[in-house]
């Protein structure tokens, strides 16, 4: 099937704008939606660069998929810009765990792909992350090590990093999970997600962007992409503690 070269150039122009900015404007979006051939071409280009193109809201987004995609922000970039000095990969992994839990809190229904909440406050995010990590810690170091190898995920390091953010406060009568350092850490994670347009905030409330919702609903829940890690992180019940709400996907 012959496609005329002018169409190819138009598609390429849109793709190059997508490539430069990660998203496109209204005009490009309209053309993409209305023209089959241009849409196919853009998908082909993205495929070559191991990306996917998704439509969310009134814009297109270019989403890098390959492990070593040239479109990825590097770990170094994230560490330098959003984490404190001398941050290691372990801190980055804790950030990832925080993000997994954040999304898990928005999509906690087994029965529908629709978000079960509209927003979350940072305090609750902190509490839920703490719950998940405490539950993991409770299964014991040996088992955890075995799971690390099985899932290729640094659970122990993540838990250690979280524990390390536990400032002991002399004034506190009961040790609260919400320490100043943990707040600071989540604030940094939040800033990162805001910059990547994965979150937006209004006052104290954090909302997922359309872009995030589309990626979550299209890919996040598929085992092929989440390697079973999502189910794993939610499969453990926490030991009962004061004011607990046990969250279990089993």
């Amino acid at each position: 099937m012959l496609i005329d070269d002018e169409l190819v150039m138009k598609a390429f122009a849109i793709y190059s704008r997508l490539s430069a900015a990660g998203k496109c404007g209204a005009e490009d979006y309209r053309r993409y939606m209305s023209d089959d051939e241009i849409r196919n071409l853009i998908h082909n280009f993205a495929y070559v660069q191991e990306c996917a193109v998704i439509a969310a809201g009134e814009s297109l987004y270019l989403i890098p998929f390959a492990k070593n995609s040239i479109y990825h922000v590097s770990n170094e970039f994230i560490k330098t810009k959003y984490l404190p000095d001398k941050a290691t990969n372990g801190d980055l992994y804790l950030m990832y765990a925080a993000l997994i839990v954040l999304i898990g809190e928005f999509y906690d229904s087994d029965k529908s792909l629709e978000a079960s909440r509209d927003f979350i406050r940072i305090e609750e995010w902190l509490d839920k992350l703490n719950d998940r990590l405490e539950a993991l810690k409770a299964i014991g170091a040996d088992k955890l090590k075995a799971y690390e190898i099985e899932y290729k995920y640094n659970w122990t390091t993540i838990i250690d990093k979280w524990d390390a953010l536990n400032d002991i406060s002399e004034k506190a009568k009961v040790q609260d999970a919400r320490t100043k350092s943990r707040y600071a850490f989540l604030n940094s994670t939040k800033k990162f997600l805001l910059d990547m347009e994965l979150l937006y905030e209004e006052g104290e409330e954090l909302f997922l962007t359309e872009k995030t919702k589309v990626i979550v609903q299209k890919y996040f829940m598929e085992e092929e992409y989440n390697q079973g890690i999502l189910d794993f992180i939610y499969s453990f019940k926490r030991k009962e503690g004061p004011g607990d709400a046990v969250h279990s996907k089993n």
């Binding site: 012959l2 005329d4 190819v8 390429f12 490539s19 430069a20 900015a21 990660g22 939606m33 849409r39 998908h43 082909n44 495929y47 439509a55 969310a56 809201g57 989403i63 890098p64 492990k67 479109y71 990825h72 994230i78 990969n89 992994y93 990832y96 993000l99 997994i100 999304i103 229904s109 029965k111 629709e114 079960s116 909440r117 979350i120 406050r121 040996d142 090590k145 075995a146 690390e148 190898i149 290729k152 995920y153 640094n154 990162f192 990547m196 209004e202 006052g203 409330e205 359309e210 919702k213 589309v214 990626i215 979550v216 609903q217 299209k218 890919y219 996040f220 989440n226 390697q227 890690i229």
Partner: protein
């Protein structure tokens, strides 16, 4: 005649959802708070009053309603009955608002057993939302969300879906009777409904983009889009007729406004206003009609896109794209121009949230840096370490078996070759080669027969994978392999099956 019981429970969940809407008011009823004189506060009523207050503000196009505004309204309306300070009224207002919009962000829910589908269901509602006309960070503004509106309309006689059509009917009646003030209000309510419908269409559009994964969902959306389109078309016609009617009424007053008496002059001004407002509502409504066409179209496109995604793995870039480009009748220089830009494409830097699931380099005991002398570890710890290795070995051996493709021998060189193509990650680190060293040491290894606990722990994984074989033998070969800066002797792996075949 038999009753079809399935028909009875058709769309059960929809009906339950509507009933669930009222559950929040009943929930408020349960509050036992009393005023300063000990009188029980009617939270149920306050809940309804709050919704009506928000609705009235919406009609007046005032979208910035804060807790303080609601508290002031409560105070004005109920001050005669209750003894409460203004601070207490604010707390009351906060309680009511947080019932309709929990501060945690989780939507208000109503759980029930769905007798049609035979399982527990939870309906979630959007009753109140943060107002988008929000510039002031310190005060929070709220407005009714779609379910809040549904609740308001549900407390009138008729159903939400036909709101616009019913508004139109009433409008016509009121115009005929000369009740122009009432007519104006009718139009204002219509306007609110049109806006609500617009948001609903937008939401459906977004859902469609995100959710089409099956024929079923696609058909559902197509039906919804079709229904909306048909209804809008009818309402559009009605609008045109109403407009004509209003113009007629205007004409009846004659050309000269000055000559009218006071009452008639008022009516005339009302009619003029009605004309303007109706026109506005009609215009908005017409835009909706266009949107509904787009909605149908985007449902189709989204469906096609999702099908495209399903097939993308089978796509061959070389065949489909490269050949296509090169079979175009364009001169060679242009082809080069076409390709060159690919090399210098400006690239954004993005973070795909799926990266959180990417495999990480797990720190094994060997890679962890310790500044102390290595201490002898306990028996228990050692067995734990062996178990961990066993899981790894299980995985590696699984790959080796697959590379063998039914043969009984393979050498390490070939294994490495295949791994580089299919599973390059297993070649990172020494673990993979350690396995072969251990096997070489213990060769020949009888499957399933272990000398002691330690061997059992270490080889449990391999025993599982090779359960169909009797033994595995690993012998040296003369050549040296170099893989990822590791130099290792080539080895021959031989499996002996249970009925004696293989060398």
């Amino acid at each position: 005649m038999e009753i079809n019981t399935d028909k009875i429970t058709e769309n059960y969940s929809e009906r339950m959802s509507r009933i669930g809407l009222f559950s929040f008011l009943y929930g408020l009823q349960g509050k036992q708070q009393r005023d300063n004189d000990g009188r029980k506060i009617d939270f149920f009523g306050l809940g309804l009053l709050a919704l009506l207050f928000f609705f009235e503000n919406m009609l007046m196009r005032r979208n910035k309603v804060s807790v303080m505004d609601l508290a002031a309204f409560f105070s004005e309306k109920t001050g005669g009955q209750y003894n409460l300070t203004s601070e207490q009224y604010v707390k009351v207002a906060e309680t009511v608002i947080s019932t309709f919009r929990p501060t945690s962000g989780v939507r208000p829910e109503f759980s029930y057993f769905d007798w049609e589908r035979g399982r527990e269901e939870t309906a979630r509602y959007r009753i109140l939302k943060r107002s988008s006309a929000d510039l002031n960070i310190n005060a929070q503004y709220y407005t009714l969300d779609e379910d809040g509106l549904a609740l308001i309309f549900a407390t009138k006689e008729y159903f939400n879906e036909f709101q616009i059509s019913i508004n139109q009917l009433l409008l016509r009646k009121q115009l005929e009777k000369g009740e122009f003030a009432g007519a104006l209000r009718q139009i204002e309510e219509m306007h609110v409904e049109v806006l609500a419908l617009k948001e609903r269409i937008l939401k459906i559009k977004q859902d469609v983009q995100r959710n089409i994964v099956s024929d079923e969902t696609y058909n559902r959306y197509k039906t919804i889009a079709g229904d909306i389109g048909a209804r809008l078309k009818r309402e559009n016609l009605e609008f045109s007729e109403l407009m004509a009617f209003v113009k007629e009424l205007q004409a009846r007053f004659g050309a000269d406004v000055e000559l009218l008496n006071e009452k008639d002059r008022q009516s005339y001004y009302l009619i003029t206003k009605i004309d303007v407002e109706l026109d506005k509502a009609h215009f908005e409504h017409k835009k909706l009609l266009d949107e509904s066409f787009l909605l149908e179209k985007s449902a189709l496109q989204a469906a096609r896109e999702s099908i495209y995604f399903a097939g993308v793995d089978a796509f061959n870039f070389n065949q489909e794209v490269s050949n296509m480009i090169f079979s175009l009748p364009i001169p060679a220089e242009d082809v080069r121009t076409l390709c060159e830009p690919f090399l210098g494409l400006r690239r954004m830097r993005d973070f795909n949230i799926l990266r959180v699931f990417a495999e990480q380099r797990v720190e094994t005991e060997r890679e962890v840096n310790t500044d102390t002398f290595a201490e002898p570890i306990s028996e228990k710890e050692y067995i734990g370490y062996l178990k961990a290795s066993s899981i790894r070995f299980e995985r590696f051996m699984g790959f080796v078996l697959s590379y063998m493709e039914g043969r009984v021998t393979i050498d390490l060189g070939e294994i490495v070759e295949k791994a580089t193509v299919h599973n390059p990650e297993i070649l990172e680190g020494r673990g993979f080669f350690d396995m072969f060293m251990v096997l070489h040491q213990k060769s020949p290894l009888l499957i399933g027969y272990d000398e002691d606990d330690k061997m059992a722990a270490l080889f449990s994984g391999i025993n599982k994978v090779l359960c169909e074989y009797e033994s595995i033998m690993v012998t040296e070969k003369p050549d040296i392999l170099e893989v990822n800066n590791i130099r290792v002797q080539n080895m021959l792996v031989s499996l002996r099956s249970k009925d004696g075949e293989g060398r």
